[in-house]
């Protein structure tokens, strides 16, 4: 595969003044930031900062009370998740949302679902168009399987795989959607050093070879500083900082948030 020279493009996604609350809890308050095409954008912050909620808003799972999202030039506030998928947004989850009853191959094939259209009558016969379509997509899926080096576990029911591999399969499924924007929610949680390095390499490869824009929630600061182009920092649902990794690293507010400087008197 050729190495594409990475050029950061224009704004692909912009969130403006997003506020989201559940009953008495305000998950997000007035968040605004943008993500440029082909970049790797990290979203970081202490636990409970609202990072996952932010991703959920972007891909239509939560509907914010205020604010607007602009994706590829179109402005909207809410959207159904499968529309977001259709528009080219894919994502992975903190708790691995794979289809546990199916094999690795089948799971990844579901990612091709939007692109497969042969109706039920052809499916019944499994001849002609349905079969060709199936093989075509199988081919693409196999390319992804090669790319992520998971050939050996093709037929294994996903529920039986170790956590690290499950996360890789989930990434494969997201890639199968050929997304323009890929949202990754703690893709390296629970992995050891080797697994993290592998995952890092894959993420960078995806960005470089396919040009996919990536928004990444991650706790490992080393990873964040290493691979991201720009970083957004959230805390208690508010945006603390926004800039390149170096800029953010030196920001006093960010340091305070992470090290836990007393917010009120008497609190440690």
């Amino acid at each position: 595969m050729t190495q594409i020279e990475r050029v950061i493009g224009d704004t692909l996604l912009k969130v403006e003044n997003i506020s989201l609350g559940f009953g008495g809890v305000q998950a997000l308050s007035n968040i605004s930031f943008d993500i440029k095409e082909h970049e790797i954008r990290a979203i970081i912050g202490p636990n409970g900062a609202g990072k996952t909620s932010m991703l959920n808003v972007i891909n239509g799972f939560y509907h914010p009370q205020e604010g607007a999202i602009t994706f590829k030039g179109e402005v909207r506030r809410t959207m159904r998740p499968h529309e977001a998928a259709k528009q080219g947004i894919a994502r992975t989850f903190q708790n691995v949302a794979l289809f546990k009853g199916m094999s690795t191959l089948d799971n990844i094939m579901t990612g091709r679902n939007l692109r497969m259209s042969r109706n039920i009558f052809w499916q019944m016969l499994y001849l002609g168009p349905a079969r060709r379509e199936e093989m075509e997509h199988r081919h693409r899926v196999e390319e992804i399987i090669d790319f992520l080096e998971i050939q050996a576990i093709r037929r294994v029911p996903v529920g039986k795989l170790p956590y690290g591999l499950q996360k890789r399969v989930e990434l494969a499924r997201a890639l199968a959607m050929e997304p323009e924007l890929l949202l990754l929610d703690e893709p390296m949680a629970g992995m050891n050093v080797e697994e993290k390095e592998d995952m890092c390499r894959f993420i960078l490869d995806v960005n470089e070879q396919f040009g996919t824009t990536i928004a990444l929630i991650e706790h490992d600061m080393g990873v964040v500083m290493d691979i991201s182009d720009r970083v957004v920092v959230l805390d208690y649902g508010r945006k603390l900082a926004d800039g390149t990794p170096d800029e953010v690293r030196g920001n006093q507010d960010v340091i305070d948030a992470y090290l836990g400087v007393p917010h009120d008197e008497g609190e440690a």
């Binding site: 998740p81 499968h82 998928a85 949302a97 289809f99 546990k100 199916m102 094939m109 939007l114 497969m116």
Partner: protein, 358 residues
């Protein structure tokens, strides 16, 4: 195993996806089919057809349908009896209103009608899940039975409320009615099952099957992949109800010949088919067949054993049968929730290595 599968490599994705990837498996299946098509009709008689083979085939069809809904798409339904009734009554009305209409067409149309009814009663599944959905399907079960009792048009104003199948022939062969030969009736039913069994297998190994399984496993994630829950669930209800409707049609036209709705299609029927699906294996085409076979044969064997051999009263045998069914369900749920289909797979694995233990 009696034959080894080593050395059979797949060189294209196409052959990798085939139903029977191992060459010898294909021979075995071909053998079964040959026996079923050619040998059985020569040996069949009225008893075997009516007591064993016809119910087995028909219930297999119903179990296939229910398995699609419950096992593949994860939507629980206790309305199977009611839907079989729809199929039966649709067949009855169609064939009495259009006597010239080919029985095959009648049955297919009945299936379509049941599919439409199924989609209607399946709409609640868009809002509710799990046993709430089970209760909603009970609504359809009780309502349909009441409907077919109450509205006399359905049984052509017959005083007894019963529907009876008039004699019909297909391409010159008498299928229903007193003249019908058991071999012909058997082959008719067999034809349906074989074709629709293959169709079911084809559907579930493709895009639509995966869509159903995605909804079953994690419907939230499915939506995020781009699966529309409406399409997935309604298609599952439609296809499932089609199968169950055709099964109900066959049940009435080809097997019973006469039926009264509260007896033939009550809630016990719903449970029976559900048990077949559980015991056979949720989410398995083969399992549907195995479960149907088991739950059709078991009462017969039990009755023969207890009544004929041990001289127990028939009523008592019935009670034992009920108890045994319950025990078996519990047993399977504890030991192997994936039913006979999984046990069969495990057996094959073990035989593959036999006589070595591992």
């Amino acid at each position: 195993m009696l034959y080894r599968e080593a050395g059979q490599f797949k060189t294209s994705y196409d052959t990798d996806q085939s139903i029977f990837p191992i060459r010898q498996d294909r021979w075995v299946i071909a053998l079964y089919m040959a026996v079923a098509i050619f040998a059985v009709p020569l040996m069949i008689n009225d008893y075997w057809a009516n007591a064993v083979l016809l119910p087995l085939l028909i219930y297999a069809m119903a179990a296939l349908g229910l398995n699609i809904l419950v096992g593949y798409c994860g939507q629980i339904s206790l309305g199977t009896g009611g839907f079989m009734a729809v199929g039966a009554f649709a067949s009855f009305k169609l064939t009495t209103a259009f006597p010239e209409l080919n029985l095959i067409i009648v049955l297919l149309l009945s299936g379509c009608i049941t599919a439409a009814v199924g989609v209607l009663f399946g709409l609640p599944s868009l809002r509710i899940k799990g046993f709430y959905l089970a209760v909603a399907t009970l609504a359809s079960q009780f309502f349909l039975v009441w409907l077919f009792n109450k509205v006399e048009w359905f049984y052509n104003y017959n005083a007894t409320g019963q529907i009876t199948m008039p004699p019909r022939d297909v391409f010159g062969f008498q299928i229903t009615g007193p003249e019908a030969k058991p071999a012909i009736t058997y082959l008719f039913a067999l034809g349906f099952i074989m074709i629709f069994g293959l169709i079911a297998k084809n559907i579930v190994r493709g895009r639509i099957g995966r869509m159903w399984m995605a909804i079953r496993d994690m419907d939230i994630a499915a939506e995020l992949i781009g699966v529309r829950p409406l399409m997935a669930k309604m298609s599952a209800f439609a296809v499932s109800s089609f199968y169950i409707g055709v099964a109900g049609g066959l049940y009435f036209t080809v097997w019973l010949g006469a039926a009264e709705v509260t007896e033939a299609f009550d809630i016990n029927q719903s449970f029976l088919v559900l048990f077949m699906v559980i015991v056979g294996g949720l989410g398995s085409i083969l399992g549907s067949f195995l479960g149907a076979a088991f739950l059709v044969l078991m009462p017969i064997l039990l009755k023969n054993f207890m009544v004929d051999w041990l001289g127990v009263a028939a009523v008592t045998a019935k009670h034992v049968e009920i108890t045994l069914m319950g025990v078996l369900i519990i047993f399977f749920l504890i030991v192997e929730p994936h039913g006979f289909a999984r046990l069969w797979q495990i057996l094959k694995e073990k035989l593959r290595l036999w006589p070595f233990p591992y």
